[in-house]
């Protein structure tokens, strides 16, 4: 079986959620099939500027083929078009212009996908919202498997994605909430399965090594990820400052990841920078609990890693996905206000009565649903099923020249707002 993983960026040092997800999946599927990665030369997800040379290379044993981005993104233009599409009635032409503006605009990549359709059994596209997925799936709908990595943001309500989401052969969802969202906005009924992604968890993490290396003595809660306002870090700092004032003997906060937002100077907040995987896992193992303050997640890999290491998770309850995961896995608590944050963090302290049981539940949840053999099996079963089943009809055509210019599309934010929110609890 020959598979092509198509993703917007790819590299051993790229740690964006969807890109890392794609790399893990490519590397694991490579054990069962011939896998090639088709991607762009971009490294920066803001501008999509070409930073790698086009052509072929091998990363961790997987062949990677890069294509140049024809036009880097103009953030101002993209912001303006996003505003039109998300918040105002608009036309299909506006949406297509928005997609073009979002990028990464790489017609060469799409042409290659169309050209190699006969040679490849399945194309696994990552991230529904980008240029490569939209054009790529339209080029090879009968062989397109999409990993949407959709969050509950207005982009999901852009109408041009409906035909693509409905037309792909199969969708590999990250969570039940994502599935509900996608099915809600697109009306999709075709094959799909909630898969998620595993992680490369070390067998023997060394919490003491992290404490020694970074001179961390007190018990602490940990945040791992980009330190960014969009990830809820500003709210986290605010809440933690108040929690620390109320609980002089409570947990400290350790931050791991690249810094976009300034970390406040606080005696109990410690920023240790971006860490290699070994140190990251040591840090999580040394912590009492992991905090996930983001409101928009399609899947939190770091939460899964914390569970794999037996640590409970304190998640932002405004994020349906995180709340659903925490509730389904019985592996932590969630908060929707400062009071809940303070009480829940206090409850999850390692010395408390529930941190341990939650951690054990989380470990079991991870083992049952997110261990690599489980993930790989779900992908392979889906490919097997698709090979046996006939492909559905062609994807809906783009409206004609005149129809494309009719301002008859509702604001995308309103479309997403109309879809039922909330965690899916079985």
């Amino acid at each position: 079986m020959k598979l092509a993983v198509v993703v917007q960026r790819y590299g051993a040092d790229i740690n964006g959620g969807a890109e890392l997800h794609a790399r893990y999946i490519a590397e694991h599927l490579a054990r069962h099939a011939e896998v090639e990665v088709l991607t762009t030369c971009a490294r920066d997800y803001i501008t999509w500027k070409n930073e790698w040379p086009p052509g072929e290379e091998r990363i961790n044993g997987v062949r990677v083929r890069r294509f140049a981005v024809a036009k880097p993104r103009d953030p101002r233009d993209f912001g303006h078009r996003s505003q039109i599409v998300f918040d105002h009635p608009h036309s299909v032409a506006d949406e297509l212009a928005w997609l073009e503006s979002e990028g990464p605009t790489s017609p060469d990549l799409v042409r290659h996908v169309a050209r190699t359709e006969a040679e490849v059994d399945f194309f696994v596209f990552f991230s529904y919202r980008y240029y490569h997925s939209w054009h790529g799936i339209r080029a090879v709908p009968g062989k397109a498997v999409l990993v949407p990595t959709a969050e509950r943001d207005p982009a999901a309500g852009v109408s041009i994605f409906g035909p693509v989401l409905r037309g792909a052969r199969a969708l590999m969802f990250n969570s039940f909430e994502e599935r509900a969202l996608i099915e809600g906005v697109s009306g999709r009924t075709g094959p799909g399965v909630v898969v998620g992604v595993g992680s490369e968890i070390p067998d023997q993490p060394q919490p003491a090594r992290f404490r020694r290396k970074f001179d961390v003595k007190r018990p602490f809660a940990i945040y791992v990820g980009r330190i960014d306002e969009n990830k809820g870090c500003r709210e986290l700092f605010d809440y933690f400052g108040r929690y620390a004032a109320m609980n002089p003997r409570g947990l400290d906060l350790v931050l791991v990841g690249s810094k976009v937002l300034e970390v406040p100077s606080h005696p109990r907040i410690r920023y240790v920078g971006f860490l290699p995987d070994e140190d990251k896992f040591d840090a999580i193992a040394a912590s009492d609990t992991l905090i996930m303050p983001s409101r928009y997640e399609s899947l939190s890999m770091v939460a899964l890693e914390a569970w794999a290491l037996g640590r409970p998770v304190l998640a932002n309850g405004h994020c349906d996905v995180l709340r659903g995961q925490v509730t389904r896995g019985n592996g932590g608590l969630y908060y929707e206000s400062f009071e809940e944050f303070a009480e829940a963090l206090y409850a999850l302290e390692g010395a408390g009565p529930i941190g341990g049981p939650f951690g054990r539940n989380g470990r079991e949840f991870f083992r049952q649903h997110y261990a690599w053999p489980v993930i790989e099996r779900k992908y392979l079963d889906m490919f097997d099923r698709l090979s046996r089943e006939p492909a559905a009809g062609p994807i809906d055509k783009i409206p004609g020249w005149m129809a494309r210019r009719k301002r008859d599309r509702p604001p995308a934010a309103a479309v997403v707002g109309a879809v039922k929110a909330g965690p899916v609890v079985h």
Binding site: H80, V326, G332, L333, A347, P357, N361
Partner: protein, 318 residues
């Protein structure tokens, strides 16, 4: 912080979240839920905040003023725009005549200026939109401030009431303590010399058991005013004239008994003008006003009486 009751390893997220929420509700108090606070913040601010200058309609007014500005008129402007027309033949004619027009004016400058103007408009609109996007943030800030001020106002009101309550209880306890201390002292001092029952009347058990009687007598003070007293109190009856079975004395006692606590002779109907209850003569002959009602029998204020300083006859009996 809450204590969580977990019987075994089978923890349940929703159950613990329920415990957390209950605990938060208990902390906040059952009187004011979030919804009630919202209601109070929007309607009844003045009641709690007095005239601090925060209007109860502030949030409402802020919300009303939030309107999205319309998109500016958009137009594309190129060098050809000046010669555009819906009629193709007219467009052609204008193009042919363009060189002649250029002999008189320079339309390129006009086009350039309008292009710049278009960009200025777009930039202005972008900035204006950015400003509008900040508005909800300000709204949130104002709203939260109003909410917090309301909450604080309520807290201050509650604290004031508690302080008043504590203050009155403390006052009462102090007075009670002082009175009990005085009682202990007097008991200690009266034990060597039993009180002289002489001046008591037939209801001496009632009146004479008061500490002032025994103390005044134990210090050798006469039952009447001291010798230096310029004028007897209580209607001018000399104490030495008072005898247990004297009908005038009985009548006088009955009259005194009719007085209510805190009432003095001057305030009684037919009482002597200028006479003051509790007033007693001091050793130097000056009149001094006591601040306690002489009839009080609960100890309150009674300890301000003229113990051992030659109290007048009324003091000695009440």
């Amino acid at each position: 912080m809450a204590d969580f009751h977990v019987r075994s390893d089978s923890v349940d997220v929703e159950q613990i979240m329920g415990q957390i929420r209950t605990r938060i509700r208990e902390k906040r108090g059952a009187d004011y839920t979030e919804a009630e606070l919202q209601h109070l913040a929007s309607v009844k601010l003045e009641r709690f905040l007095d005239s601090r200058g925060v209007r109860s309609t502030l949030v409402e007014a802020f919300r009303k003023t939030r309107v999205a500005s319309p998109e500016p008129a958009s137009y594309e402007f190129t060098d050809e725009t000046l010669f555009e027309s819906p009629r193709p033949w007219l467009r052609k004619v204008r193009r042919w005549l363009a060189p002649i027009l250029r002999l008189f004016i320079n339309p390129d400058r006009l086009s350039a200026a309008l292009r710049v103007q278009k960009e200025v408009n777009a930039d202005f609109h972008r900035r204006f939109r950015a400003r509008e996007e900040m508005d909800p943030l300000y709204y949130e800030v104002v709203h939260n401030l109003v909410l917090e001020i309301t909450r604080l106002g309520i807290d201050v009101q509650n604290l004031k009431m508690r302080v008043e309550s504590l203050s009155s209880r403390l006052d009462f306890d102090e007075r009670r303590g002082r009175s009990l201390e005085g009682l202990v002292e007097r008991r200690g001092s009266e034990s060597p010399r039993p009180p002289d029952p002489g001046p008591r009347g037939p209801d001496g058990a009632r009146y004479g058991s008061g500490p002032r009687v025994t103390e005044a007598q134990s210090h050798g003070a006469p039952a009447g005013p001291v010798a230096a007293s310029p004028a007897p109190l209580g209607g001018g009856l000399a104490p030495q004239e008072a005898r247990p079975d004297d009908p005038r004395d009985r009548r006088r006692r009955r009259r005194r008994r009719r007085r209510r606590p805190g009432q003095n002779l001057a305030s009684m109907p037919g009482g002597p003008q200028g006479a003051v209850s509790g007033a007693h003569s001091t050793g130097d002959g000056r009149s001094q006003t006591g601040d306690a009602a002489p009839t009080s029998d609960d100890g309150d204020g009674g300890d301000d009486g003229p113990e051992g300083n030659g109290g007048g006859p009324e003091d000695t009996h009440q």
